[in-house]
Amino acid sequence: MKEKKAKGLAGLLTSERWADATVSVLAIILMLIAASGILLLLGKNPAAAFYSFLQGCGLAPKANYGGGSGMLSDLFNYLNILAPMLLASLSFIVAFKTGLFNIGISGQMLASGFLATICVGYAKNLSPWIAKPLVILIGIAAGGLCGAFIGFLKYRFNIHEVVSTIMLNYIISYLTGFFINTKYVDMLTRSSRICSANARLTWTKVPIKGVSCNIPLGIAVALAAVFVVRFIFDKTAFGLELKIVGASRSCARYAGVNVRRGIVMSMALSGAFAGLAGVVYYLGYTNTMVPKTLPGMGYDSIAVALLGNSSPVGAIFASIIVTIFQSGANYMSSTIGVAKEIASLITGILLLFAACGEYMKALGRRAVERKEDRILAERAAARTKGGEER
C-alpha cells in the first residue's frame, strides 16, 4: 500500500532528489539564526552586519568609495578569492567520491604555490603568454605529484591518508618556510618577495567604467574545473570506477576494478586541483607567501564541499556563500565594529550544521513514519468502528 508522497519539510528531507539540497538550505538558515544570535549578544544589528558583508564583497553598493575603486573592483576581488576556494573544494570532492579524505589540501596548495613562485614568479623577462600557462602547469604537476605520493603510501604501505596528509602538511609548511626565510624573504614585510606581474594570474588595475579592477583569471580556471570534474564523474568509465571504489572496495575488486590504480589516480587528481587552487591563491590573490603559514582555505574548503553535498555544481553555490563571509569580513569589521574573526566563526557554525545532515534526514524519516503510522491507526480505528456499527 503506497501512501501519497509526504509533503512539507519532512517530505523534502526524505525525497531522494531534494534531501541533500534541503539539508544545505536548512544548515544555512540555522547558521544565519545562530550568527544573528551572536551578533545580538554583542549588541549589533544582525541585518546591518549581513548587509555590510555583502557590501564588502561588491554585491551591494557601499556608502562611499575610495579614489579609483568601485563596486566592480570589490566584486572582482571577491571573485579572486572565490576561485581558489572553489578549486580547493573540488579537490576535496574528487577524493571524497573515491572514499578518501584529502585533509592535506593546505599543504598541497603551499607546495605548488611555492614552486610556481620560485620557478616562474621570480623569473625575469618571461612573456605573460608563456609564464601564465607555465604557472598553471606547475601547479597541476606539483599538486598532482603530492597527491599521487599520498595515494602510493596508502596502497603500498597501508598508511591512512589522513595521517600522511597531516604529516606532509607540516613537513611542507616548515620546508617552504625555511627556504622563504633564507632565500626569498622580503626584509620589510617578513614574507616572500612579490612575484612578477607577468606570472600573476590576475590582470591588475584594468580600468572598467572608470574604476580600476583586478581581473582574476582563476575564476575561469575554476569554472572549467567544475565541468571537468562533472564530466569525469558523470560521463566516463574512469569516473564510474572511482565512484565504485568509493562505495565499496571489495565490490570494486569483485567487479574487476583496479582499486590500487583508483586510489592513486584519485589522490593525484585531487592533488592536481589542490595545486591549481594553490597557484590561483598565491599567484592570483595574495601575490606573496607568509612563511610557515598553512592556508586556512584548505580546511574551509572541506566545509564548502560538505555544504555543496560533494557535487561540483553544489560547490559553486556553497563557495559563493562561504566566501561572502570571508571576503566581506574586513569591511564588516570596519563599519559594524565586530572583530573580523567572526567570519571563521560563522564558517565553523555553518560546517557544524552541515555535518548534522544525516541526523536531519533521520528526523525527517521519523516524522514521515510517524505520520504514516497515525494515518494507518486512524484507518484501523475507522474500520473497527464501522464493524461495530454493522
Binding site: I159, V163, N169, S344, L345
Partner: protein, 319 residues
C-alpha cells in the same frame, strides 16, 4: 646533553597525555581527529580561568596553574561533547566531525579571546599572557650522570601528567570499564550482547579524551608558549595522533614514542645551537618528528592494529 633530556621530557609529557586522550577515544571506536581542537579549547578555558583569578592572588602564587589545569580539563571535556554528539548520536562521518570540531575550536577561541580581552582590560589583543610555570629539580636523582637531566628543572605539571597517565593506564587495562571500552572499539555488538551500553561507553571515552587533551593544551600554554594565543594550534594535537598510531594504540608504547619525539625535537634544537646555525634552521629541525613519523610508519604500519570498529557509527541492528 642534560638540556636535551629536560626539554625533551617537558615536551613529551603533554604530548603523551593528549595521545592517551586520543587512545581512549579510538579504542572505544570513535575516530578522533579533534584532539587539536580539544586541546586548544581546553587551554582557552584554563587560560581564561587563570586570567580571571590572577589579579586576586599575589603575583608569585603558583595556584593559577593548578586552577588552569583543572578548568582546562573541564573545558576540554565539555567541548568534547560536541564531537561525541555529532559522531555517536547524530551518526555523522567521524573524520568530518573531527575536522569540523577543530575548525570551530580555532574560530571560537580566537574570537572569544579578543572579546574577553576587550571586556577585561579594554585591549583587543588575541593573547592571554600566562607566563611560564616555575621549575623544580629533584634532589639526588637529578645528579645521576647522563639521565639526570630527566629530573632537573621539572615543571610541576609533569608530575600531574605522570600520575594521570598511570591512572588512565590502570583504568584502561585493569578495570571493568576499560575492558568494556576496548571491546567497544573491537566489536560493539559483542559488548551489547554482554549487556554493556555502547553509547554510554563511547560518550565517557570521548569526554575523557577531551579532558586529557585540555590538560595537554594548557601545559603547552604554560611551558613553550608562555601565553594563550591562536598559535596554540601548532599541530601538536596531530602529532599526538601520530604518536598514538606509531605506538599502535597502546599506552606504554605510545609513551615511548612521545619520549622519542620530545628528545628528537629538543636534540635538534640543541644541535642547532651547538652548530651555531641561524634561527631559520630550527624550522628544519622542527620538521624532524613529522619526517621520522612518515618514515617509521612506512616500516611499521603493516603491523599496526587499529581498533576494528573505529570510525563506524554504532548500529544496534547490524550484525
Amino acid at each position: 646533553m642534560t638540556k636535551v633530556f629536560t626539554d625533551g621530557l617537558s615536551f613529551a609529557l603533554p604530548l603523551l597525555i593528549m595521545a592517551i586522550g586520543a587512545i581512549y577515544s579510538e579504542k572505544s571506536g570513535v575516530t578522533n581527529l579533534a584532539i587539536e581542537g580539544f586541546q586548544g579549547f581546553g587551554a582557552f578555558i584554563g587560560a581564561l580561568a587563570a586570567i580571571l583569578i590572577m589579579p586576586r592572588l599575589s603575583s608569585s602564587s603558583q595556584l593559577p596553574i593548578y586552577i588552569a589545569i583543572l578548568f582546562a580539563a573541564v573545558g576540554g571535556g565539555i567541548y568534547a561533547c560536541l564531537h561525541a554528539l555529532l559522531s555517536i548520536n547524530f551518526k555523522a562521518n567521524q573524520v568530518i566531525s573531527g575536522v569540523v570540531v577543530n575548525i570551530l575550536a580555532v574560530a571560537l577561541t580566537t574570537f572569544f579571546t579578543s572579546a574577553a580581552n576587550t571586556a577585561i582590560n579594554g585591549t583587543a589583543s588575541n593573547k592571554f599572557i600566562l607566563g611560564v610555570s616555575s621549575r623544580y629539580s629533584i634532589p639526588f636523582l637529578s645528579k645521576i650522570p647522563w639521565i639526570g637531566g630527566l629530573f632537573q628543572r621539572m615543571y610541576p605539571f609533569e608530575w600531574i601528567i605522570c600520575v594521570l597517565a598511570f591512572i588512565f593506564w590502570y583504568l584502561m587495562y585493569r578495570t571493568r570499564y576499560g575492558m568494556r571500552l576496548r571491546a567497544c572499539g573491537e566489536n560493539p555488538q559483542a559488548l551489547d550482547a554482554a549487556g554493556g551500553d555502547v553509547v554510554k561507553t563511547r560518550w565517557i571515552a570521548v569526554v575523557i579524551s577531551g579532558a586529557l587533551s585540555g590538560v595537554g593544551g594548557i601545559c603547552f600554554a604554560y611551558s613553550i608558549m608562555a601565553n594563550f594565543s591562536p598559535s596554540i594550534y601548532m599541530g601538536y594535537g596531530y602529532l599526538a595522533i601520530a604518536a598514538m598510531i606509531f605506538g599502535n594504540w597502546d599506552i606504554p608504547s605510545t609513551a615511548l614514542v612521545c619520549l622519542f619525539f620530545g628528545l628528537a625535537k629538543a636534540g635538534g634544537q640543541q644541535l642547532c645551537l651547538a652548530m651555531k646555525l641561524s634561527g631559520n634552521y630550527t624550522d628544519l629541525f622542527n620538521m624532524l618528528p613529522y619526517v621520522l613519523t612518515m618514515l617509521l610508519l612506512i616500516f611499521f604500519s603493516k603491523r599496526n592494529h587499529p581498533p576494528k570498529a573505529c570510525g563506524q557509527p554504532w548500529d544496534q541492528g547490524r550484525r
